[in-house]
């Protein structure tokens, strides 16, 4: 299933040249800036090693049930890369597990606004949003 999603994401990436171009979002009218090269694949998960390390330790904390620590670590990572949609998603996951469904939903929506053409992530966010809404009821 995962692989299928990835292939689909790849395909949709091919089909959406302007979409990919949109990713670094140059400010309008800033014509003096060189236009970013069109990307043919979904944006790489461009975490720096610092963020990748924090993400790993957050996952470890999360797996061990140390949810407040996992959240704190993800917030640390977000201070380094505030536009990393995956970090927002992972924080949404942690909040969901903490049964804070309101925040889980809001954070997943936030992740979506930064997800660009990462269809896999968008789908994951949507699923989380739906589950959070259902759990709230």
């Amino acid at each position: 299933m995962k692989r299928l999603i990835y292939v689909l994401a790849l395909l949709s990436g091919c089909a959406t040249q302007p979409e990919a171009q949109r990713e670094p979002a140059p400010p309008p009218e800033a014509q003096q800036l060189p236009a970013p090269a069109p990307e043919r694949v979904p944006p790489p998960r461009a975490e720096t090693t610092a963020v990748a390390g924090l993400m790993d330790s957050a996952r470890a904390d999360s797996a061990a049930g140390r949810l407040p620590n996992a959240a704190a670590t993800l917030e640390r990572a977000l201070r380094i890369e505030p536009r990393n949609a995956r970090l927002w998603h992972e924080l949404a996951q942690v909040r969901f597990r903490q049964q804070n469904y309101g925040q889980a939903e809001s954070l997943a929506v936030r992740s979506n606004t930064l997800a660009g053409s990462d269809a896999e992530l968008r789908a994951m966010n949507q699923r989380l949003i739906d589950e959070a809404r259902a759990a709230k009821r």
Binding site: P27, E29, Q32, A50, A72, R79, R110, D130
Partner: protein, 772 residues
């Protein structure tokens, strides 16, 4: 006979009663001594820390700024192998021996790192063995405390950590028979008795008595109080070991003032006067401290160095005379200078405005008493770099404006708030031009009319209806008259006293046209606009008058920061926070203040608004910013100026920081300075010092960029001169093509359209796949 029996009976009864009363008092004192001494923990202030600096490759920070922070932390720039707390600087590289620190999420041992810098960024980070490391956290800067009554501050020490020579010196001058007496010294007592009647400075108290006096009793000098002191001292000696009494004494004793902060105990005194842990005090240093006990203000080493030196030498002589230090130790110590550190006292805090915010936010969750006594450790969001940049920009510019304007005293005032636009963390707060003064905090408590800073709420309301308003929609900036019953007619003028006819929406905002905004706001509905102001995060009640549209609304810089935060983060409101974590004094986590977001607006109108606010800086009232920041930073902002220029504002954001600046007079005099002339330069200075990240707005899916011919306001393209790319909510852009646009432009449009459709179809397919 009967009478005598009666008398005797009465006497016996009186005697019994007296004895009982005395026993009762003693019992009561005994209870107090045991209960209070045992249960007594020193009231320890909550200690407040800045954010820790997290070094990682890619961090935007130049080498000198890291050095500054290390210096503030007391790191020395000499290698001290085997120790931590030093650094070496070498051609774009820093070797740092990081100190150990107990963070919220655990203890971090001391570690050595090597940091490389290139182009104002960290380019390399390695450990001692040359391995790349992802992150290195520097311990956070202490930025003050929340102190017990009298602003008492202390660092607790154990008697075993106090150097033996300090104890010897103390006993030599304060209480020679300390180890042999039972709480009082008969000879001293006789002296004290005389002093009560002659009201001279009383001496002769044993260490135990001094402790009792400081601990349990009020300072008045009566025979009754002296008797109580004596009884309690004896009781204390009965119940406790000499070392327990000594330890408490060493932690209790007063060593002078650091501005409004009282220095108590040898632990803090060693830090304050010598920047050392107590165990490293030399014979001479500890003699100075012991000498100060008699009168910390009289023997203040900063104010009365000669007198203090003389006193220290007396302590040394007494100690030598009693054979507690050797002749050699004495000679060395006597010839040493006082050796106190440069006075770097910070009082209760160097950042009083920020501390006030922290305290206010803490009070929601903690008892005032706990904050002042439990030694809590509070980890805050203060960024010392941002704070420093804000302080120096504000003070420098205000001094300059005062000189140019010559409006006399009191001079201009100002306030600054800086936040992280994504998380809502408050990075800096300056409450006035005297930045160390803990008085009136204008950033938090001064509500002033915001003027045009309110306009984004109007334009956001308009842009939330894409079928009616786009960035291109013509707005009428003709003369405007508002009549409402019970209120005088309202006829707002523009800043340049002219009207500009029909202007595209984005330019009406960029040039901050008043008539256009007033008309637009009242057309949309005052309640609707004010409702959106509330959704942006302004909680204060705002009266629904038409004049509110032009900023007849009093807000503090902090409230403005909250409002602009929601715009900067794409429509997600996060309450501004100054605290991250709270732990007990030994590091056990108590509370976290997590990041919380709430979507207040859909992303599309907020994106359009932010893009228009970039135009404010690029071509509108914020143009002067080009002398401070390169255009590619593309900051978004808004100027604000109120009637007669009483208030000058600038609020805006880059990719990584949001800042609000206010300038004006406390007494509301006309400052004759506009937002762009007074507040913008401060904003520009502080941002430039922080090398901001460019603002790259995250474009929502439903926003498309369309080339527009500025002449006709229709679809343009490469063949139209001066065509601009503008964002539109899909389907809201003009359909008609400008006369200048060629067939190639039309073809490009058609392709983009088709691609867009395909994307949408692919999306729906995916969404269906995941059950949506």
């Amino acid at each position: 006979m009967a009478r005598r029996t009666k008398l005797r009976k009465f006497l016996r009864f009186a005697l019994l009663a007296t004895l009982l009363a005395a026993a009762g008092v003693t019992l009561y004192l005994d209870f107090r001594v045991r209960h209070e001494f045992e249960g007594r923990r020193f009231a320890l202030p909550a200690r407040i820390f800045a954010r820790p600096l997290e070094l990682h490759v890619g961090l935007r920070i130049p080498l000198p700024d890291v050095v500054d922070e290390l210096k503030q932390l007391g790191y020395r720039d000499v290698a001290r192998p085997g120790e931590s707390g030093w650094y070496l600087r070498d051609e774009g590289r820093l070797e740092i021996a990081l100190r150990p620190f107990v963070f919220w999420d655990g203890a971090q041992p001391p570690r050595a790192v090597s940091v490389g810098f290139e182009g104002g960024k960290v380019s390399m980070l390695r450990d001692a063995s040359g391995q790349d490391v992802p992150l290195a956290r520097v311990e956070p800067l202490p930025i003050g405390g929340i102190y017990p009554a009298g602003n008492e501050d202390r660092i607790l020490v154990r008697v075993k950590d106090v150097p033996k020579h300090l104890v010897e010196e103390l006993i030599a001058v304060e209480d020679r028979s300390f180890y042999s007496h039972h709480g009082f010294d008969p000879r001293g007592l006789a002296r004290a008795a005389r002093s009560v009647f002659s009201s001279r400075v009383q001496g002769g108290s044993t260490i135990t008595q001094q402790l009792v006096k400081n601990f349990f009793l009020t300072p008045e000098r009566t025979i009754q109080r002296k008797a109580t002191e004596l009884v309690m001292a004896v009781l204390l000696e009965m119940h406790y070991e000499k070392d327990e009494i000594l330890e408490t004494y060493l932690n209790e004793i007063y060593f002078g003032q650091d501005r409004d902060r009282a220095i108590h105990g040898v632990g803090l005194a060693a830090q304050y006067y010598f920047a050392k842990d107590v165990q490293y005090l030399s014979v001479a240093e500890s003699a100075m401290l012991v000498g100060m006990i008699r009168g910390p203000a009289f023997y203040d080493p900063y104010k009365h160095a000669a007198r203090t030196l003389e006193r220290r030498n007396l302590v040394l002589r007494e100690t030598r005379d009693q054979g507690k230090i050797s002749l050699e130790q004495y000679t060395t110590a006597r010839s040493a200078p006082l050796g106190v550190t440069g006075k770097s006292g910070m009082g209760t805090s160097p950042y009083p405005a920020f501390l006030k915010l922290v305290h206010k936010q803490l009070r929601r969750d903690y008892d005032e008493k706990d904050l002042r006594s439990e030694g809590l450790r509070i980890f805050t969001t203060l960024d010392p770099r941002a704070q420093g940049a804000a302080e120096s920009a504000l003070t420098r510019r205000l001094a300059q404006f005062d000189k140019e304007k010559r409006f006399g005293q009191p001079g201009l005032e100002g306030a600054v708030v800086i936040t992280d636009p994504q998380s809502g963390e408050v990075q800096a707060m300056v409450g006035g031009r005297d930045v160390r003064y803990a008085g009136y905090n204008r950033a938090l408590d001064a509500a002033r009319p915001v003027g045009s800073l309110l306009k984004p709420a109007i334009y956001l309301t308009a842009l939330s209806e894409p079928s009616r308003y786009t960035l291109l929609t013509p707005i009428d900036d003709g003369p405007f008259l508002w009549k409402s019953r019970g209120a005088p007619d309202w006829e707002p003028l523009n800043y340049d006293k002219k009207f500009h006819g029909m202007v595209p929406l984005r330019l009406a905002l960029a040039h901050s046209y008043n008539a256009a905004a007033a008309r637009l706001g009242t057309d949309l509905g005052i309640d609707k606009v004010l409702g959106n102001l509330r959704r942006l995060g302004v909680e204060r009640e705002v009266r629904p008058y038409a004049s509110a549209m032009l900023g007849a609304v009093d807000l503090s810089p902090f409230e403005v920061a909250q409002m602009y935060q929601t715009i900067a983060s794409g429509g997600f409101r996060s309450p501004l926070r100054s605290i991250r974590e709270v732990t007990t004094q030994d590091g056990k986590p108590l509370a976290r203040y997590p990041l919380a977001v709430e979507q207040a607006f859909p992303p599309e109108p907020v994106y359009l608004l932010a893009a228009a606010m970039q135009d404010v800086v690029r071509e509108g009232t914020g143009q002067a910013m080009k002398s401070y920041l390169p255009p590619e930073i593309a900051v978004a902002g808004k100027t604000g100026t109120t009637d007669e220029q009483r208030d000058a504002w600038f609020a805006g954001f880059s990719g990584d920081r949001l800042a609000v600046v206010w300038v004006g007079y406390d007494d509301n005099r006309a400052a004759r300075l506009s937002g762009s002339a007074a507040a913008l330069p401060i904003w520009g200075d502080l941002m430039a010092a922080l090398r901001p990240e460019p603002l790259a707005l995250a474009r929502p899916e439903r926003i498309e960029m369309v080339s527009i011919d500025p002449q006709s306001g229709l679809r343009g393209g490469a063949s139209c001169p001066g065509a601009v790319e503008l964002p539109f909510v899909q389907g809201s852009a003009p359909r008609e093509r400008a006369p200048c646009s060629g067939p190639l432009d039309a073809a490009v449009d058609a392709v983009n359209q088709a691609v867009g459709e395909t994307t949408k179809r692919a999306k729906t397919f995916l969404e269906r796949l995941f059950g949506r």
